[in-house]
Amino acid sequence: MSLTIECQEREHGVVIVDVRGEITFENSDLLRDKINELCDQHKTRLVIDLANLKYMSSAGMGVLVHGLKKTRQGQGDLRLAHLSPKMRRVFLITQFTHHFSVFASLEEAIQSFAVAPTEAKPFPSPS
């Protein structure tokens, strides 16, 4: 199964990044490149829509961390919508839930940027 990525600009300068299929270390650079491309265009308010993501390995999680840092460097944030129960479990194990803002719907994620445009959850820098 491959990975497809579609982007859609919404209100508050938010870009929805719809990821479909599987994110593995084979294809995770596709998402990394897309995030970099958006940030280079100063589009740093990103919502990753995971509703149609069937599988994500640690490589995919690494790209999300990259995206979190990259968007926050640009005074934005990377937030997640539609995290499945099995992915939520992995996020809990890795403590990613401490760093990422996760929303049940796209609308909630989009509206969150109106309330808190920059990072909603702290991501400590290495000391």
Partner: protein
């Protein structure tokens, strides 16, 4: 109430399923392996949680072999063995890597999450037993991973992480 994979027929789990696969340094086969694991889980009436954990553990383990030991060399080969009984889901990943020392596997600092280094950490948390067996004479490494399986009618049993404190 235990959940089952859609399409799985209720009833006792088959006594034992064993699969032996030979994979190469080409990562493209890993998607196929995940589908094989899914088919195996259906046949064994395993829970979605067990399937999800096993798919992730196998993918991370094989990825580490392909990426770090084989450096994507498609001519190199390694073994993946799966054995499912009523009691456990056993996975063995066997490969040659004379340089490998399990003691050097870094522990990720989750407070300062990095982009890499989560694979083995995840495996250790989602599987019930994880051990590296090193044959010093040949340089053969065997990563042995076990997921304990409760009886199908054991409420809340299958798929629970029985050692969440690790």
């Amino acid at each position: 109430m235990p959940t089952t994979i859609p399409g799985a027929s209720p009833g006792a789990r088959p006594r034992c399923t064993r699969l032996d696969m030979e994979l190469t340094g080409n990562p493209r086969a890993l998607s196929l392996v995940r589908r094989i694991l899914c088919t195996c889980a259906l046949a064994q009436n395993l829970s979605p949680q067990v399937l999800s954990d096993v798919q992730l553990a196998v993918t991370e383990a094989c990825t580490n072999v392909i990426k770090h030991a084989f450096r994507f060399d498609p001519t190199r080969r390694f073994g993946l063995q799966i054995q499912v009984t009523a009691q456990e889901y056993l996975i063995r990943v066997t490969y040659d890597d004379p340089q490998f020392d399990p003691a050097t596997i870094p522990i990720p600092d989750l407070q300062h999450s990095r982009e890499g280094g989560l694979g083995v950490f995840l495996i250790r948390h989602i599987m019930d037993e994880v051990e590296y067996l090193v044959d010093a004479a040949t340089g053969t490494i065997t990563l042995r991973m076990v997921k304990s399986l409760a009886a199908p009618d054991d409420p809340g049993g299958q798929g629970e992480n029985r050692n969440p404190g690790r």
